[in-house]
Amino acid sequence: MADNEKKIIIFDDDEDILAICSYILEEDGWQVTAFPDCNNLIDHISTIKPDVILMDNWIPDEGGIVATQLIKATKSLQHIPVVYFSANSDIETLAATAKADMYLPKPFDLDKLKEILTKALTIS
């Protein structure tokens, strides 16, 4: 794969969501890596060096808030934009607590998904 290909990591424990996002984003030219939990996430992110991270609120084991805070507290990774997504109605507050850069409420429109990730690329 070419080095200039845009890369994304998705953290979500719902297989269908992972499948859908992977399908849609790969079609849109993304190189997608998906994880059903956030164990060893610093290692994963450091190896893959994604351009954007899509983080679910309800992710085993620690949850999206702790995971995102961890990313944002790691010097080498904190510049990577994190898009927080959740079906929780307080997503805005959750995203702010997690220190995520953007958020996307579930259920989302597939075009909205592409749109917000493209936007995230511009801030990375």
Partner: protein
């Protein structure tokens, strides 16, 4: 102990009650006058000693069964920091009066127990004791003080029950709101998947027959409808929690309304829309929430009117520094009765219960959003002619 009488020992006036009630119980049991007096004196001596030291002592008088025999018994409990010695005259004297006298000092409280064994000849049995208990429970107050005391006790019991009821209602309410919130979250996750797969199927590059395309668009339409319902449930739970938050921004009203009408034209393609605005004004609104209001009011206008009829949107400046937005349809209209309740939570008019689906949440949420914007909402309607929903919004003043 089978408790018959209970008296809180707060002040000297309770001594009178303690003495009279002890006498009365001993008398009702059929004891001799001498024994009645002995028992009552012992009880009041201890009560007096306790009252001298504290105001939270409790006297209880009743019966204790010991195999086939009964004893007349009185207990006085009081703060464990208070220690009686034989220098306390009453304490010393009472011990001489009753055959059984016992003082236990525990970490919780100190307890004095006095007993007089009752002769078998009194022929006590559970039935008699129950009658006695009832008699004392319903006894008229001995004096004015007793009356006030009884009334106070009743009042504080009622207050306690009310508190408990309130606490329970609040708990049930919280649980309900929490349930709605969790349920709608859980519903949203499969909705996300359903919607996305539908969208993927509709967007596939593989050949799709017209019939399948039609089916997919119906699935998409229905899942959007389901989503709106879930969102409304969530909004209701937020309203109940007082968590509905607004991001207010100044917005040009006419532009905003135009956008909403354009969106609704796609959703209601068989209706004719007409607009008639006054000069453009700035209003302070949360755009997303106000979109919800317009979608609800315009959606209702379409839902309750026939195809090919007109839906008008008008604005007008009011005298009170507000702008009034009206949504007018040529639909079925409503009765006066419906008009009074149409903004109530879960209200559904009888005449549309079967013909039109819904949960009665839309207008409730809409009215809440409008009042939260310091606006007013009302309806004018005539059965068979149409309805006019109006809401006002305060103007942004510079």
């Amino acid at each position: 102990m089978i408790n018959v009488v209970s008296i809180s020992l707060e002040n000297e006036m309770d001594l009178v009650l303690a003495h009279k009630r002890s006498m009365k119980l001993a008398e009702r049991l059929g004891l001799s006058t001498a024994t009645q007096t002995t028992f009552a004196t012992a009880v009041s001596e201890i009560a007096r000693t306790v009252i001298e030291h504290t105001d939270d002592g409790i006297l209880e008088i009743g019966l204790e069964q010991n195999q086939t025999r009964y004893s007349l018994m009185a207990t006085v409990s009081y703060d464990n920091s208070i220690r009686f010695t034989n220098n306390d005259a009453g304490f010393y004297y009472a011990q001489k009066l009753v055959p059984e006298f016992d003082l236990t000092e525990t970490v919780d409280c100190n307890l004095i127990v006095m007993k007089i064994g009752l002769p078998r000849s009194l022929k006590l049995d559970p039935v008699k004791i129950n009658i006695l208990k009832k008699e004392f429970a319903n006894e008229q107050p001995i004096n004015a003080y007793d009356e006030i005391k009884q009334r106070n006790a009743r009042l504080s019991q009622i207050a306690h029950e009310k508190d408990e009821e309130l606490r329970r209602t609040k708990l049930v309410d919280e649980k309900k709101t929490e349930f709605i919130s969790i349920a709608s979250h859980e519903l949203k996750t499969p909705m996300t998947v359903l919607k996305a797969y539908t969208q993927m199927a509709r967007g596939t590059k593989e050949p799709v027959s017209d019939q399948l395309r039609e089916l997919l668009s119906k699935i998409d339409f229905q899942s959007n409808k389901l989503l709106t319902l879930v969102q409304q449930l969530l909004d209701i739970s937020k309203i109940e929690n007082g968590n509905l938050q607004y991001h207010l921004q100044p917005v040009k009203l006419n532009d905003f309304l135009n956008q909403q009408v354009e969106v609704m034209k796609h959703i209601l393609p068989h209706h004719e829309f007409s607009i008639n605005y006054c000069n453009d004004v700035d209003v302070l609104i949360d755009e997303l929430r106000m979109e919800q209001v317009l979608a609800n009011l315009l959606g209702n206008a379409g839902k309750y009117s026939d195809k090919q009829t007109k839906i008008s949107v008008e604005t007008m400046l009011s005298d009170e520094g507000a702008v009034v937005v009206s949504i007018i349809d040529q639909g079925r209209g409503m009765t006066a009765e419906t008009m009074t309740s149409v903004f109530d939570k879960f209200y559904r008019a009888k005449d549309v219960l079967k013909s039109h689906t819904g949960l009665g949440m839309g207008l409730y949420i809409t009215s809440k959003i409008i009042t939260d914007h310091q606006g007013k909402i009302w309806v004018e309607s005539e059965k068979g002619v149409g309805s006019k929903f109006c809401f006002s919004l305060p103007l942004v003043t510079n």
